[in-house]
Point group: C2
Chain length 348, copies 2
């Protein structure tokens, strides 16, 4: 650890610590000459102010926390990317916490962060959290908090989301236009905002096309084999769907696995579309149609808004509930025509 302290600089320069401190921060009450001397020595000795002393005194840690359910998910890792970019520019540090979709961990982490370790928190809640008391308790501490993607809308906290319902509507509509008559929705268990939004878009599309009542919602979870089992049952049942809309990438993967296993051809017998931020979806067999969320932008905007709160700037009303559009990428897993030639769709 760097041992040179501000006091040592002061002693070496025959000045008081306060002068050195002010000189380093370019205070107007220090002469240019003194500033130069101080900075020269500081640079020479590679002086770094002790962050803990500084944090203690100023009650500012220059650190934010990001709490996400998992990191092995392209959506969240892209978000992290956006957050890190903004934080770096602001000279802030980023703590990362994973809940592994576990309510208890989420609660523990939030509790940990109530001590001033960070100046703000961004969170995407786990799908096992039913109660929001831990979040409300956190808010009482008056440390800036924002939600992204998986939000809790009835709290007075800024939310950065994508248009889940709208995108789900478009995806379902796309399946319908591609000829699907019976579409199943693979939803994430729990009561997440995104699950509800996506489901409502799905239902709305079915209703618009006169298929209300034919909803088919399957709740999937973290366990691959359990999911495959459910999908297998679904695809072997009476009400076998000809289209599947997966709420998250993982379930689309499970669907692909089962359809291969059962020799069900995509898209001829079954069309598949999914929320996914996986770049390699284009290389799947067949290439997977996806709804891609603006993950990087969501991370960036979330961080921007968080810093606005930290800096005590007023938020525009648009920033209190920000919605960034997702977009559809149509690939072969949902084409109605004959199997298209891959290269056509792949050309950059």
């Amino acid at each position: 650890m760097n041992n040179v302290t501000l006091k040592m600089l002061a002693e070496e320069l025959n000045m008081s610590p306060s002068t050195v401190s002010r000189a380093l921060r370019d205070s107007h009450e220090i002469s240019q000459e003194t500033k130069d001397r101080v900075k020269a020595l500081a640079a020479k000795l590679d002086f770094q102010p002790n962050p803990h002393a500084s944090s203690l005194r100023k009650n500012k840690s220059r650190t934010i926390a990001v709490i996400i359910p998992e990191i092995q998910n392209n959506f969240f890792s892209q978000v992290m990317n956006g957050v890190e970019e903004v934080a770096r520019q602001k000279g802030y540090h980023v703590l990362i916490y994973l809940t592994h979709e576990d309510y208890k961990r989420e609660k523990d982490i939030l509790h940990l962060l109530r001590s001033g370790r960070v100046e703000g928190v961004m969170i995407s809640v786990s799908n096992t959290t039913r109660s929001f008391e831990h979040l409300e308790a956190y808010c009482k501490e008056e440390i800036p908090l924002i939600f992204f993607d998986r939000v809790c809308e009835n709290m007075d906290v800024p939310c950065i989301t994508t248009d889940d319902a709208g995108a789900a509507f478009k995806a379902t509509e796309h399946l319908l236009k591609a000829g699907c008559k019976k579409i199943a929705f693979l939803s994430m268990a729990g009561n997440l905002s995104i699950s509800c939004g996506r489901k409502s878009g799905y239902v709305k599309a079915l209703t618009k096309y006169g298929l209300s009542g034919s909803e088919l919602v399957i709740e999937c979870g973290p366990d691959d084999e359990a999911n495959r089992q459910k999908i297998r049952q679904l695809l072997e049942s009476e009400q076998k769907p000809d289209g599947i809309f997966a709420a998250v990438e993982k379930f689309a993967v499970n669907t692909y696995e089962v359809s291969r296993e059962l020799d069900i051809r995509v898209p001829q017998h079954l069309k598949v579309i999914s929320f996914s931020n996986l770049a390699a979806a284009a290389l799947f067999n067949p290439p997977l149609s996806t709804i891609v969320q603006p993950a990087y932008d969501m991370g960036r905007e979330s961080a921007n808004i968080l810093f606005k709160i930290i800096d005590k700037k007023k938020l525009l009303s648009a920033e209190k509930k920000m919605v960034i559009q997702s977009h559809l990428i149509i690939r072969e897993s949902t084409t109605s025509k004959q199997y298209a030639k891959p290269s056509v769709l792949l050309k950059p």
Copy 2:
């Protein structure tokens, strides 16, 4: 922010701060009765010790840093997962920094961390770093440091790696046994330890099978289009290979893209294998044979070793240079036989 301090507890209880502090830490010099009273009030008021004050006084931050080139890469996100797990168990916090493969950023980050903000650092160096001065300067500060995956072997710092050369040898051998006569190696630009290791395994395998001199190494980089251009040239040249061994997943993706574009069939005309931690590789068209690195374990072990150093425990010699085995997963992109039925290879 939680405003209740240790001093306030002391006042409320008519005790000195030192007593309260000791009581909370279960010091033997405090009576059980006092401890109970203190803890009761602390719990009631939800007292949380100020981490900065504590860090300042004890010169311990209970925080480690992980520096990685990028997060949008399954390998690194799995590593993060392992690290977070260990850190959480130890009650440590994890700062994340991304270099984006940029030497300057890497240098800046390491410089930032020389102030005692963290108790230890784990790093996987960027592929644009040629000089290691910034790392050596960091070591001088005597803050624990360890390398993982992309290491700098001639520094006296623990390294956690996988058997790059061995795995590359096996992958190349596998291509040869599958009938390849001319194998190209898509390497990452720069002088990374992993690039060298993987290349040497590749060369060794060619040599063993009497093909020394037929090495074909293409240096790829971060830009997809540039990579595709290089691969396109390669596949259209005189020395068109019938096998490609990609050092990283990204290049395999580029290869798939180009081969579709040029109507080159995998594996019939070209066999492809790659280092990759992408679970969805099994769903590619055709399913991609991969060398998967034990990313999660590497993260876990790295963190374990880092904490051993932080806790000033002696490292076993095996822990100073730890190597964890990667393993091959053979899929259709390298099968020599007729195109196998997908479901056979996919059954769990």
